[in-house]
């Protein structure tokens, strides 16, 4: 009974959404769904995608799922209900997202994934992701060099449901584990979060005062870890991040964090919108669904050229 009522209500909501969406057909709509903009990386994606969508004559609907798969599913319903012609999505989980993207596909709305993969092909039209493994290897090679191939270190890992957390960790270890004098004394997830990284780093440092380096799965965790180290008077600890944020750029410039790896987030989001446009207007899919974009090492040599997840010349 309850279920029927919910369905009726939702059917009404669907009709309502349809009614309000009708006038908007004047300009076609592209939905842009990412994790929270608290992390400037995701903000750069949303800004890049929105700018490109507007440039190509679309209206943009910018939404955030806060890494909650249920919320993401609702947002996809919203995008479908509003008559979006395409969805640009940085998703909330490699497994949990497959059904949501399939739902959009079944409704005739193609999805173009950026940044994170899903564990299925043939559901999204495109999956454009940074070559996280290649990037992690660059970061790890720099870390190994900074560490002089020896010493105790800590690894901060990202959110487990995100393929990128595992792939970066794998990339780091494929390089670092070749050096037997580099010893990992702690490995913890701080779920991509700056505040969580701060508190985790505080307790790791208490238990392991003899650490020489911290390698982090992203920049926000690197910022949190470095803040905790600085507060404990341990600015000597080598910290390396991943993403290429302006915060870490500024930290590198002032001698704090030593290096990071730039993911071309802005360009990637724009590329996804271009492919969506090609699909909407010409019914043309990209040659390959899964596309990799190479990352670039950022250290003291080139940090000054970094701005909003892009390198200037």
């Amino acid at each position: 009974m309850k279920l029927t009522r919910r369905m009726t209500l939702a059917a009404f909501a669907g009709m309502l959404a349809l009614g309000t969406a009708a006038p908007a057909y004047a300009a076609d709509l592209i939905a842009i769904i990412t994790p929270s903009h608290d992390n400037p990386f995701f903000k750069a994606e949303a800004v890049g995608a929105e700018a490109k969508a507007k440039e190509l004559g679309y209206e943009a609907l910018v939404l955030v799922h806060d890494d909650d798969a249920n919320k993401q599913s609702e947002l996809i319903d919203t995008a479908i209900g509003r008559g979006a012609k395409a969805i640009i999505l940085d998703n909330a989980g490699a497994d949990a997202t497959v059904a949501a993207v399939q739902k959009a596909k079944d409704a005739g709305v193609p999805s173009f994934l950026i940044d994170r993969e899903i564990n299925a092909t043939g559901v999204a039209v495109a999956q454009i992701v940074s070559n996280n493994y290649q990037g992690a290897q660059l970061g790890a090679q720099e870390f190994v060099k900074l560490m002089g191939e020896k010493g105790n270190f800590v690894e901060l890992v990202g959110k487990e449901s995100d393929t990128n957390a595992g792939i970066r960790s794998k990339g780091y270890h494929d390089v670092i584990d070749d050096y037997p004098d580099l010893k990992m004394v702690a490995q913890q997830s701080a779920n991509w979060s700056q505040t969580e990284a701060y508190s985790k780093m505080e307790s790791i440092l208490q238990a392991n005062p003899d650490i020489k380096g911290v390698i982090s799965g992203n920049d926000t965790m690197a910022m949190g870890a470095y803040a905790a180290l600085a507060a404990a008077g341990r600015k000597d600890v080598i910290v390396v991040g991943f993403d290429g944020s302006n915060d870490v750029r500024d930290s590198i410039a002032s001698g704090g964090i030593k290096a990071t790896v730039l993911q071309p987030a802005y360009a990637q989001a724009q590329m996804a919108v271009e492919q969506a446009n090609d699909f909407i207007k010409n019914k043309k899919s990209p040659a390959e669904e899964k596309q990799l974009m190479d990352c670039v090492l950022i250290n003291g040599d080139n940090a000054a050229k970094l701005e909003t997840f892009a390198l200037t010349n």
């Binding site: 369905m7 909501a13 959404a17 798969a69 209900g81 008559g83 949990a96 996280n132 493994y133 595992g166």
Partner: protein
């Protein structure tokens, strides 16, 4: 605007609204995944590489490779032409070219202190290093994997599997070829390498990852 009949455009959202409810009514839980991101345990990158190494990988590189001075000169003058001739035409659009290459020359310097050991090779006889060759045990990059036109990222579940596969080439090269090479007094010896390198943009020497390597006796 695609020339779809209006009715289907209107009908689609209603249908979806219904589908949407049936999905939101039940809670979608992520599948628990292990350290490797939940990929199937059946995936065995080392075995896959072992299976194709002698039958496909080495023959492909031998057939595709150009001599280093030729490849490098063409890559500098006309990267696209070098890519068409010595590169993997199915590479990712945003990735630099990876070239199959045959390198012959003399070792002019070696770094065997690092675990990522290398030797610098003079290929044109001017006494100066033209390329740096990785001799392991630690090796960088995925040049061997990326040089092969029969390997596609789309054939793998995710980046983790693809990465493991890339690493497996380096492990195989180290185990079957590089670990057997001499490490002492390399300067002045002659070398013959078949391998691959990624076109760089910086000032660093091109970094060649060998699939075959021979080092001559001490001079």
């Amino acid at each position: 605007m695609p020339n779809k009949p209006t009715c289907s455009i209107l009908a689609a959202p209603i249908l979806v609204a219904m589908v949407g409810i049936s999905l939101t009514a039940c809670k979608i839980l992520p599948t628990p995944s292990g350290e490797n991101g939940g990929n199937a345990p059946a995936f065995n990158a080392d075995k896959m590489v072992g299976d194709i190494w002698a039958a496909k990988v080495v023959p492909y590189l031998q057939q595709k490779a150009g001599s280093f001075p030729e490849v490098h000169a063409l890559a500098k003058a006309d990267p696209a032409a070098a890519g068409a001739k010595y590169g993997n035409p199915k590479k990712q659009a945003n990735s630099p070219w990876t070239f199959a290459v045959r390198l012959e020359g003399k070792v002019v310097a070696a770094n065997t202190q690092s675990r990522a050991a290398t030797m610098d090779v003079d290929a044109d006889g001017d006494g100066k290093a033209d390329a740096r060759v990785q001799i392991g045990p630690a090796m960088r990059g995925t040049a061997l994997r990326d040089s092969l036109d029969f390997i596609q990222f789309n054939d793998f579940t995710n980046q983790i599997d693809f990465a493991q596969f890339g690493k497996a080439f380096n492990i195989h090269a180290d185990k079957t070829v590089l670990s057997k090479l001499p490490r002492e007094a390399l300067e002045g010896r002659s070398v013959r390498i078949v391998g691959a390198y990624v076109m760089g943009s910086g000032q660093d020497l091109p970094l060649v990852t060998p699939a075959e390597a021979e080092i001559g006796p001490k001079p």
